[in-house]
Symmetry: C2
């Protein structure tokens, strides 16, 4: 368990950072389950829950997956990956399903952070989507959406700053 | 402030429900700001923050917007709406940007719930996207992604149950 118990939600949301370097320490099964519980409870259009997951913990498999992205240095150090897939058999509207996948991923990222774990959302690997899908041996109705790397943060590397636009730039108007 | 202060993240995630009926009570500006703060801190690919927002609190405008969806009964009772837009000028990859929009919406939904507010993610209104964009008078580079209704829950209507697939159904394999 991390040191974030009792942290208020806005604090969890604002203090989360992409973590790209991990301690050589496995992620407990109990925590993987909590992260997937968070994923499972994401909202989706018509509650179609279009997500599927592959949990990767074998270090050799992780090493092989790392080769499909220019961010291999992040993946290869992570003790666990969650591969996030869209189940096209459950799809009712591709763009809404992809929004739901984003909500599901955010639940996982927040859950990792609240457990004291670090995570990185790797989207760049989609550039080699078909190759990764083939490597993972997944059926045609499942489509790669992202790979989430998870591990205990190598603390010296945690970025404390992160740029965000001001609210004034984001609000088009109030009516 | 709601009664959810100190609730653990997994509890917030699992107890959130779509709220479709609201008390006749405005949402405080302070809470709207917290919800948008949560939105602002969502992750996005290359940190491009492709989201923009319109805050709608005028009851007549809300009534007019409600006519663009079959869920008008939800929108018309809500004291506040946040219209979520994709800024196509900031887009670097449409599907990754749409995932980021989903993460941003999920931050808002969780924030609402943790403040004791209820929210509903209205995607069905995208069926009349162009008409809504025209009504809102937004420039061409902004695209409607969703409308989030926000208000204090009319408690008798809160659904306590919600179906989710078991984890076993969602995990394709562990490797």
């Amino acid at each position: 368990m991390g040191g974030y118990k009792g942290m208020e939600l806005l604090e969890i949301i604002k203090s989360r950072r992409s973590i790209r370097n991990y301690k050589n320490k496995p992620v407990e099964e109990e925590n993987i389950t909590k992260i997937l519980e968070a994923a499972r409870w994401a909202p989706s259009g018509l509650n179609n829950q279009p997500w599927k997951f592959i949990i990767v913990q074998n270090s050799n498999t992780i090493k092989q997956i790392s080769k499909f992205t220019k961010y291999s240095y992040i993946i290869e150090k992570a003790p666990s990956l969650i591969v996030v897939l869209l189940d096209k058999n459950l799809s009712y509207n591709r763009e809404k399903d992809i929004q739901a996948i984003g909500a599901c991923i955010q639940n996982m990222l927040l859950m990792c952070h609240s457990l004291g774990l670090g995570a990185c959302w790797i989207g760049e690997i989609l550039n080699r989507k078909e190759e990764v899908e083939k490597f993972l041996g997944i059926p045609n109705h499942l489509e790669l959406m992202a790979v989430i790397t998870i591990g205990y943060p190598y603390e010296e590397d945690i970025k404390t700053s992160s740029n965000r636009k001001n609210l004034e730039e984001l609000i088009i108007k109030k009516i």
